[in-house]
Symmetry: C2
Subunit: 273 residues, 2 copies
């Protein structure tokens, strides 16, 4: 039996095979689903399955955000579980949960993400320090992207507080680069495309850490910054996420084809060398 690739290898292979740094955010909202899908059984699953079928040759990852699936309660979580089982095994799946908790609780979240749902990686909030991160990074088949600079307008409230002369988000990048050396899992950073200067700075501080870059598309972030500062020094490409700009490209029955067309446009802007 061939040994399982590490997550870093799996991500690099998906980027090469699909010639893509694009990640699609699978974030269904009931009111925005096409009318033909909204009222059937398991609408979130049907909608996202169609998006995945139309785009699986164009992406390097998919990223469902847990929040949207939970709005439908237990049935929503069951649909997420079924969707993840359905995504081609060569494409990494990142569960965007921004988890953060004390050690034994972080263990429970890691079990949920990697065993119950079967994803490859998660997003984590680093505010609790190393304790809350270790359970997600004890195996090279799994990984975590730690929030450094988020894409939202109020990101500066806490992230730009001056920590010993440097903003807090820079200190997170430094800490992550240290933690990464002691943990076998793939440790990356989240850096919003809406803050290009901050992205450049984080890349300087953490040259080897893969980036997850949200905020292109509906949030208006810079594709150019992702292209320039996204890759690591050994040329692992970034995972550049767009959600609403792709999955809601059309509100009609052509939503899957429209999503494919929108994905093709971003993929082309981002194509790796």
């Amino acid at each position: 039996m061939a040994s399982q690739p590490t997550l870093r290898q799996k991500l690099a292979q998906a980027q090469t095979e699909n010639r893509s740094w694009l990640c699609i955010g699978l974030d269904p909202v009931r009111d925005r689903l096409p009318a033909s899908v909204r009222d059937i059984a398991r609408p979130f699953l049907a909608f996202c399955r169609a998006i995945v079928a139309a785009t699986a040759d164009l992406v390097c990852a998919y990223k469902p955000n847990l929040a949207f699936w939970l709005t439908e309660g237990p049935a929503g979580l069951a649909q997420l579980q079924a969707l993840i089982a359905d995504i081609p095994p060569t494409i990494p799946v990142i569960l965007d949960g921004k988890f953060n908790d004390v050690g034994h609780t972080a263990n429970a979240y890691a079990h949920f993400a990697f065993e119950v749902l079967g994803v490859d990686a998660v997003t984590l909030n680093p505010y609790l320090g190393m304790d809350g991160i270790r359970p997600f990074l004890n195996n090279e088949n799994f990984g975590a992207f730690l929030l450094a600079r988020t894409s939202n307008p109020s990101a500066p409230d806490v992230q730009d507080l001056s920590a010993g002369g440097n903003p807090v988000y820079e200190e997170i990048a430094r800490l992550a680069a240290q933690w990464e050396e002691h943990l076998p899992g793939m440790c990356g950073l989240v850096v919003g495309a809406t803050y290009p200067a901050e992205m450049a700075r984080v890349r300087q501080l953490a040259p080897t850490l893969p980036f997850l870059i949200p905020g292109v598309g509906a949030q208006g972030g810079s594709v150019e910054a992702a292209r320039i500062h996204g890759p690591t020094q050994d040329e692992l490409g970034p995972v550049v996420n767009s959600s609403r700009g792709i999955i809601y490209a059309s509100s009609g029955d052509d939503f899957a084809q429209a999503a494919r067309n929108a994905a093709l446009r971003i993929q082309a802007q981002l194509r790796p060398k």
Copy 2:
């Protein structure tokens, strides 16, 4: 129809009626359940229902941590939903999810917590700033406790970074005190009992904000610090959480009675004036 009390009033009433600042963390772990419960249908629900029935006259709140319920997948989430519906409506329920996300995603989590599950309050991680907090605090019937100082050993990694001469956790307390003035919901702070000096400092900086204090019991935190620094200046008591020390007080069939006895001991140490 009598108007619904605000969350602040509801919490104060529960503290007065039950003469208690104790909150019990409803954090089931399959391997730790009594053998008689482990293999029945809906074991988490049965276990926690028995704990609630045995302690509802001794607490001012219950706090389920979402992580543990998710380890059982959709069935676990359904059990959490059923449990919350079963808790007496005079006792506030705090969903410990440590949510943190951009505005429109924070909206989805708020819908999940307050509408789908029906809790009164949540815990939030403030790293994304005001955007991610506002959706939880736009109604005086609901509330949120923001992480200031967490109870875990690696809390200092990020929380003690010096922000303009002050540690980051102090800046969070200052920010929360400002945000609280502009939002109708009940805004409180999480301050671990394992860090008594930091708790004293946060109380100075945010004299009116209610505290959620984890870390007594299994984590070894200071009940004395909670007693002294816990109350607000207008004497709303803190919500002092213990999970494992109470719910796993016995691994036998007497677990509910043992939980009651453990709860009685902590309640007595913490009894409000």
